[in-house]
Amino acid sequence: MAWLDTIIQGILLGGLYALFAAGLSLVFGIMRLVNLAHGDLIVLAAFLILVLVSALGLNPFLAALVAMPVMFAVGWALQFFLLNQTLGTDILPPLLVTFGLSIVIQNGLLEGFTADSRRIPVGGMDSASVALGPINVGVMPLLTLASAVAVIVGLNQLFYRTSLGRAFRATSDDPVTAGLMGIQPKRIFATATGIAMVVVTIAALYLGTRANFDPTIGPARLIYAFEAVIIGGLGSLWGTLAGGIVIGIAQTFGAAINPEWQILAGHLAFLVVLLVRPRGLFPRAVD
């Protein structure tokens, strides 16, 4: 039964990686922008939740709810005032500006919160578990996966059922023509990044409650998110969930063999997929 337990733990861990990746996937899908500061923004949101919890004594879930509009505003402003200036045919400006941003956020957090490991307290919930048949499953990991599924369902509904989603798809296909139809691409981009930051806040809640975090762990989260997106195939949110689960399972199996191999096993799974299915498991977009 040990292997079944490993697979279940891997799937649940995959939910966390899918949450990391959903925001990245959303931003890339709409404006072809790869945000190298994505992982650091997750850590930033985790610190925001931590401050709300410790300063106001809020419940972490309530604190995340409060942090969402704040992070939406941060994302909107970031896109509108900074990242929109870098969009164009040249890939250098967005990459180098977001790389600079990553360093700025990391060191800003180091200055404000020191390099100490933190954790968002959730009472007894982080050790609570439920029995699923013969396997015991943690409540928090289960909630993470459920949230990842809910986020993906929600984003798909947003994309295909609302006028904002139509504007997203139109701008993604052809910003100039979308502009002629009365859409302002720059505002659409800003809104998209704002929504991505709301997803980032949800990811941050689980990042911060399930394990310790410090200001320097952002880049590793970016890498997991990126791997999930590539394994899943560009442009497919369900594929991103599958990609997250592939990395999650690879990591738990690696850790079961030797704890030092956990992270390496996840990266190797990514390289194998890149080797046999360069366009990912569920490719949709051609770019």
């Binding site: 790869v34 890939i91 250098l92 400006p93 990459l95 990126f226 890149l274």
Partner: protein, 362 residues
């Protein structure tokens, strides 16, 4: 009708400024080689740091500025070169000088399989993919227990002390082995920096360099006139891996102590390097030279402020990228038209002499 055959056309890249700068450069190089005669040990160590960062910056600039391959994973080759050198010295008992050269070759060999993976990713995805590769190499080498695993190891003192070259330098200057080590590593760094700049300049002035510029400016158009874009990019990627690995090995001969986290540090070997190139001016040979000087001054100025230093460096990088994407050297060259390493081909000698200077790339 005037007879134009008397004044034949010539294509050349040399300018008046570049001719003067060549003489000045020769003088600076002579002075730099003689530096151990009059400079103190701490100055030599600072110069070593500046020169090795310059080599890393030139290599990254070649990748990102000329081949359009934005890598944030060059620490893979710094670390791999360093580890290869350690393995060759500790496990195979080689002379560190030979080990440095072999480490460069090992890095270029590592670049063959990584290129195979990375070239499946386009643009921005190439960037993060290169980071993944660096992480894989770091995690794999951290498993190598004979080289200290995750905690790292040191170079045995005998290995560096008994180097024939070190004894020669020590006798030449009449200094102890630690002082001679600083002089030797400094000279090697100087040689490496000159060779790197020389080779990059030579490459850019060659037919291949023209092809590279064409690919960067418009890949489809370049391919339509017969430039093999993929081959050019692969060659540049391998060359940069060689140079970066060589430099990594040299840095760690001087440090004499290695650990996976330090040797594969994204901040030390990639973030600093990117800021040096961006601040100085991406896509020019002069840019990294200007950048590394500014970087060194900033570092000394802000040394006491801890993480504020990196924060400020990041902000400067963002501001430059937004408002002066050609960097400090780009601003200077735009106003003065001066190019120390001109790579733009100009048609001279004919009847319609054009002397209008364009941007630094031309």
């Amino acid at each position: 009708m005037t007879d134009t055959s008397l004044t034949p056309w010539r294509v050349e890249t040399q300018t008046k400024a570049s001719a003067i700068s060549a003489i000045v450069a020769a003088l600076i190089i002579l002075l730099a080689f003689a530096a151990p005669l009059f400079a103190s040990r701490s100055v030599m160590q600072d110069l070593f740091f500046i020169l090795t960062m310059l080599v890393l910056a030139q290599n990254w600039n070649l990748l990102a500025g000329y081949a359009g391959l934005v890598s944030v994973g060059q620490q893979a080759f710094v670390g791999f070169g360093a580890y290869a050198m350690f393995a060759l010295v500790i496990l195979a008992g080689l002379d560190p000088l030979i080990a440095i050269l072999l480490a460069g070759i090992a890095s270029a060999l590592l670049a063959i399989p990584t290129a195979f993976f990375l070239f499946r990713l386009q643009g921005a995805y190439f960037a993060i993919g290169s980071w993944v590769i660096a992480e894989v190499v770091r995690l794999a080498l951290a498993q190598w227990k004979m080289l200290g695993g995750g905690t790292g190891t040191s170079l045995p003192r005998e290995a560096t002390r008994d180097m024939p070259a070190l004894k020669f330098v020590g006798e030449l200057f009449g200094v102890k082995s630690s002082g001679a080590g600083d002089i030797l590593t400094y000279w090697l760094a100087l040689l490496l920096a000159i060779a790197t700049i020389g080779l990059v300049y030579r490459l850019l002035r060659s037919k291949q360099g023209l092809g590279l510029a064409a690919v960067r400016d418009n890949q489809e158009a370049a391919r339509s006139v017969g430039v093999d874009a993929r081959r050019m990019k692969t060659l540049v990627y391998l060359a940069a891996a060689f140079g970066t690995g060589l430099c990594g090995a040299l840095i760690y001969v001087q440090k004499a102590r290695i650990s996976p986290d330090a040797a594969f540090s994204v901040v030390d070997w990639t973030a600093y390097v990117i800021f040096i190139v961006v601040i100085g001016g991406i896509g020019t040979i002069e840019g990294p030279i200007v950048g590394v000087i500014v970087f060194y001054l900033l570092q000394n100025l802000l040394a006491d402020y801890g993480s504020w230093y990196l924060l400020i460096l990041g902000l400067i990088g963002i501001v430059i990228m937004l408002f002066a994407p050609r960097g400090l050297w780009g601003l200077f060259a735009e106003r003065t038209g001066i190019q120390l390493f001109p790579v733009r081909r100009r048609l001279t000698g004919g009847p319609l002499m054009s002397s209008k200077n364009g941007g630094p790339h031309g």
